[in-house]
């Protein structure tokens, strides 16, 4: 990883930019700032694939769809590489591309299944978190019951470890909004998980 990308400066994309900003960036004029060398960019992109897939998976709850989203996001990022500003948070930039793509697809076609029970049982065989007795599958089910904006905030801040400022840049909203969504999401997830760990009376995810 290059030294420049290790820095965690926040400006990913301006919060008020359109949700499809990266689509337009592909055809935009070359950026005014110095671009990252192609090979460095490629290296960073490849290194970010696991996190990108993780974020996509948490967002949509379906591995195949998540991989499609992640591949689309990689392709968009590659096409828009001139618009990436070296020294800013690379992973946050990628997350922003992916979430924009996810929400724009979701708006155009309601084809997202938020939770795939059979696939989850096959793929995510109950891995208890160390010492806490919490089942990851329960976390995933609980996450799927949350509104998308709370799920997204939890994934960015609590799961992937972005700061609230970075998450705000990814989500294109105010820091206070991120805090509020994280707080509400965590409270709702806590309630869900408390019920989930009690036994068979599990809540079913929202359709």
């Amino acid at each position: 990883m290059t030294a420049g990308l290790m820095q965690q400066r926040v400006p990913v994309l301006a919060p008020d930019e359109d949700i499809d900003v990266v689509d337009s960036a592909e055809t935009a004029a070359p950026a005014a700032h110095p671009a990252l060398a192609t090979e460095d960019f490629r290296t960073e992109l490849l290194a970010a694939i696991p996190a990108l897939r993780g974020f996509a998976r948490g967002l949509c709850g379906n591995r195949d769809l998540a991989d499609d989203l992640a591949q689309d996001a990689l392709a968009k990022a590659w096409a828009a590489r001139a618009s990436y500003m070296p020294g800013t948070h690379f992973r946050a930039w990628l997350f922003r591309i992916l979430r924009n793509h996810y929400f724009s697809l979701g708006r155009r076609a309601h084809r997202f299944a938020p939770w795939d029970e059979a696939l989850a049982d096959r793929v995510l065989v109950t891995q208890a978190t160390q010492g806490s007795g919490i089942d990851i599958a329960d976390v995933q089910r609980g996450l799927a019951t949350l509104p998308a904006e709370q799920r997204e905030a939890l994934l960015l801040v609590s799961a992937s470890g972005l700061s609230v400022e970075e998450a705000a840049a990814v989500m294109g909203c105010a820091v206070g909004t991120v805090k509020s969504r994280v707080s509400r999401g965590r409270a709702a997830l806590h309630v869900y998980m408390s019920g989930a760990t009690r036994g068979p009376e599990r809540l079913t995810p929202a359709a």
Partner: protein
């Protein structure tokens, strides 16, 4: 009476402070946070499908082919130029 007033002031101050406090607290040992982090780690540790690793090469190869077909200036047609690399 005086004590009640002081209590009231203290109570109101505490309330005000609580409103000003950050809305998000992420204690390290919190089970929800721990569960989310472990879930995310589990996702990250899943093997990456081969097509992910080929994706960028494929995109570049397609882009170069398209440019060659339309004869875009500045793109080398030299067969020695490796595919998948930028000119």
């Amino acid at each position: 009476m005086m004590q009640e007033d002081e209590m009231d002031v203290r109570h109101r101050r505490a309330l005000a402070e609580s409103r000003e406090a950050p809305a998000v607290e992420l204690p390290a040992g919190d089970p929800v946070t721990a569960g989310l982090r472990n879930m995310f780690k589990a996702y990250e540790q899943e093997p990456i499908p081969e097509d992910f690793l080929r994706l960028l090469d494929d995109i570049e190869a397609r882009a170069i082919e398209t440019q060659e077909e339309i004869g875009t200036p500045g793109v080398s047609n030299d067969p020695a130029t490796p595919r998948g690399t930028l000119q």
